[in-house]
């Protein structure tokens, strides 16, 4: 994958970063996907949790390294073979965490309908911002996946 530069809207994205960062902070000590191992594997789960948290923290750090001086001056973020997969994983983890916390009261079918329409009118202001973060992270995933595999994203739509 060659280096890909993407221009984002600073006024649209910058206000979301504080909330995304606060959710990323939660992911420093909580797995986005709780381990689903049986009780017999409790020891294994304990060992894995530390390794998975370390990986999750590293991925989120890679995501936030996108929003550097170049982003705040030009609105540009850049992906390459080194950061694409970590950022993709970070987006997945953050979306799962948003769903489990800030967006937990919204039923699955309602959230799906909101995603399809990108409409936020029915949500209160706090949830609107969380939902905007949820959509932004999805867009970021789509952009990266489009460059990793141009056919992949079309199949979702």
């Amino acid at each position: 994958m060659k280096r890909v530069e993407v221009r984002l809207s600073i006024p649209a994205v910058a206000p979301l970063l504080d909330l995304i960062k606060s959710v990323a902070d939660e992911l420093r000590v909580n797995l986005a996907v709780p381990l689903a191992l049986s009780d017999a594997d409790a020891e294994l789960a304990s060992v894995w949790s530390e390794d998975l948290l370390a990986s999750q923290r590293d991925d989120c750090d890679r995501l936030f390294s996108l929003f550097d001086q170049e982003f705040f001056s030009e609105g540009v973020v850049a992906f390459d073979r080194d950061n694409a997969e970590p950022v993709l994983r970070a987006c997945a983890a953050l979306r799962l965490r948003f769903r489990a916390t800030h967006l937990e009261k919204i039923p699955d079918d309602t959230l799906e309908a909101l995603e399809a329409s990108s409409s936020m009118g029915e949500l209160n202001e706090t949830v609107q911002k969380a939902f905007a973060c949820f959509l932004f992270l999805d867009e970021l995933q789509k952009i990266i996946m489009k460059y990793l595999d141009p056919m992949a994203v079309e199949e979702d739509e």
């Binding site: 797995l31 986005a32 996907v33 709780p34 381990l35 689903a36 191992l37 049986s38 594997d41 294994l44 894995w48 390794d51 998975l52 990986s55 993709l88 994983r89 997945a92 983890a93 979306r95 799962l96 769903r99 699955d108 959230l111 999805d138 995933q141 789509k142 996946m145 990793l148 595999d149 992949a152 994203v153 199949e155 979702d156």
Partner: protein, 101 residues
């Protein structure tokens, strides 16, 4: 001395059991979630298991429809490694003994 050297180290029956008993096999079960983008799940399944697009999509749809899909069966150590990798990509998965083996 010669007789002792020619004597088998274990009884014939124990030797036969050691040769025919297969190690237990384990399933890697991919679990559905309602948040993750379908194309992301397919991409990860292809990447980790080497599936083609059709096979990965079949597993993704099976998990989407019935909540789970057995994506791999084999030795415990490898099964653990696959579940760990799926978790690293934030796809939920578990291990279970393969009762059919």
């Amino acid at each position: 001395m010669i007789l002792a050297a020619e004597r088998p180290h274990s009884s014939p029956s124990a030797h036969a059991v050691a040769e025919t008993t297969m190690p237990p096999r384990w399933r890697v079960v991919f679990l559905n979630d309602a948040v993750t983008r379908m194309s992301y799940a397919v991409m990860v399944l292809r990447k980790l298991f080497g599936f083609d697009e059709t096979t990965a999509t079949k597993h993704m749809l099976e998990a989407h429809e019935i909540g789970r899909s057995v994506v791999w069966v084999g030795l415990r150590e490898s099964a653990e490694a696959y579940v760990f990798s799926l978790q690293q990509w934030h796809l939920s998965a578990t291990l279970e003994p393969d009762e059919t083996s």
